[in-house]
Symmetry: C2
Subunit: 251 residues, 2 copies
């Protein structure tokens, strides 16, 4: 709040370190909106026991999201089980995993936000790699669009997609559950931790923002910048000030 | 030929170093098929003069491909002009650039093979990033599928795509002009030069091969492994032996 930032999306590892109740209390005391809990997912596994364990962990994540009053639980699908080359099977396991947790998530009023990840993460992080693919999953699991299932849109993962404008319109307000901003640097020196501050890269953020607003999105803009080489090294106050400034000027 | 390899796809920089006529003669003497000339493209530019220069360079590439008897000219579209964030405009410039060289390429009987590049290269190398997008371009520029325009399919760029099987079937024999193999390493340590030897990564090569064969592709399989960290450091004879061995066992 010191920075006039009104929301937060905690990561589960940090949450577990602090304890869910203590974290929920601290967040309430600071009057912060929990825009999302990061993250469930990681469904694919070699055997049924592994897939069952993943589903159980996701059910715990739903409980945690409920305890925090999170606006959604962000799902990063998971990639190929180690040694597997069967992307199609991994994708089916993701579908089945989400199907298994959706009833409980709806009961808990925790919307599930599938986050398509950049294709460069297909092997090791998420085999859901385009907005269209995430929306197809939503349509399969929630054909009547009853709510409680949608997507988290992170510009870093989708900015390149020739079908992005179309996909955002297709998603519409009901399926657009979260919006993450940062920038794509040229050159990108590391596949995971070299994201850029808004304005330092090539993503046309105002254009993408105009598309989500046209679709009716009125939620938060979340800044998510994995940056081992730069921003993670800086003073957190400086980083937050820069985020706010850049968001106003470039988003 | 010493290795029983029957084709080659020269790069233009090497070609220019050697001289086109000398290279054409050497290739003929070795009875090698020129599967493709790498590469034309790189169309987007800030101003009309830059775009005109790119088109002229591509016309020279067509002439060189003709002189070599190349089975196609591979096009890497080009990314965003430095400082631009307008992907849609870059994509229009690519379309217009191909339109400008297609008549001459047809005259020269040099098929143009648009190579969709992995989305991680959208900013700096190619704004054509999926097979569907490349095929849409083909349909726009050659609506009657008269021939002479198609795609070069490199597994490294497209293996992750949930629409890949569908796209290959859609392309069909007439649009499938080249097929490149290598592998996707986990982890990938560099965006450009950390490709893997077939079998060392996660790409299901036999599955993709089965799709192109079902579509009627009967051309060469080209091995293209940018690997600063590994294969480029090794003895070329060892690399070629390994390529042949791995191709037999994993493709």
């Amino acid at each position: 709040m010191r920075h006039g930032i009104l929301g937060i999306a905690p990561w589960r590892d940090q949450l577990h370190e602090m304890g869910v109740r203590a974290a929920a209390k601290a967040i309430r005391n600071h009057e912060l909106t929990v825009t999302g809990l990061c993250r469930g997912g990681m469904f694919p596994a070699w055997d049924a026991a592994g897939r069952k364990a993943a589903i159980e962990d996701n059910l715990r994540a739903v409980d945690e999201a409920q305890a925090l009053g999170a606006q959604c639980l962000v799902l990063v699908a998971g990639g190929l089980p180690a040694g597997s080359k069967d992307l199609a099977a991994a994708r089916e396991q993701v579908r089945d995993g989400i199907a298994a947790i959706l009833p409980r998530a709806r009961e808990a009023r925790v919307p599930i936000a599938i986050e398509p990840l950049h294709p460069m993460y297909a092997a090791d992080r998420a085999c859901v790699n385009t907005l269209a693919q995430a929306l197809d999953l939503c349509d399969t699991l929630d054909p009547e669009n009853e709510g409680g299932l949608g997507v988290a849109l992170d510009v870093y993962h989708v900015w390149w997609d020739p079908q992005l404008e179309h996909g955002i319109a297709r998603a519409g307000k009901r399926r657009l559950l979260a919006f993450h901003v940062c920038d794509w640097l040229v050159p990108t020196r590391d596949l995971l931790t070299d994201r850029g501050m808004m304005g330092d890269g090539v993503i046309d953020l105002p254009r993408i923002r105009s598309w989500i607003e046209l679709a009716g999105y009125k939620g938060f803009h979340e800044v998510e910048i994995f940056s081992e080489l730069d921003w993670w090294k800086r003073d957190p106050d400086e980083v937050l000030e820069t985020c706010k400034d850049r968001h106003q000027r470039f988003c």
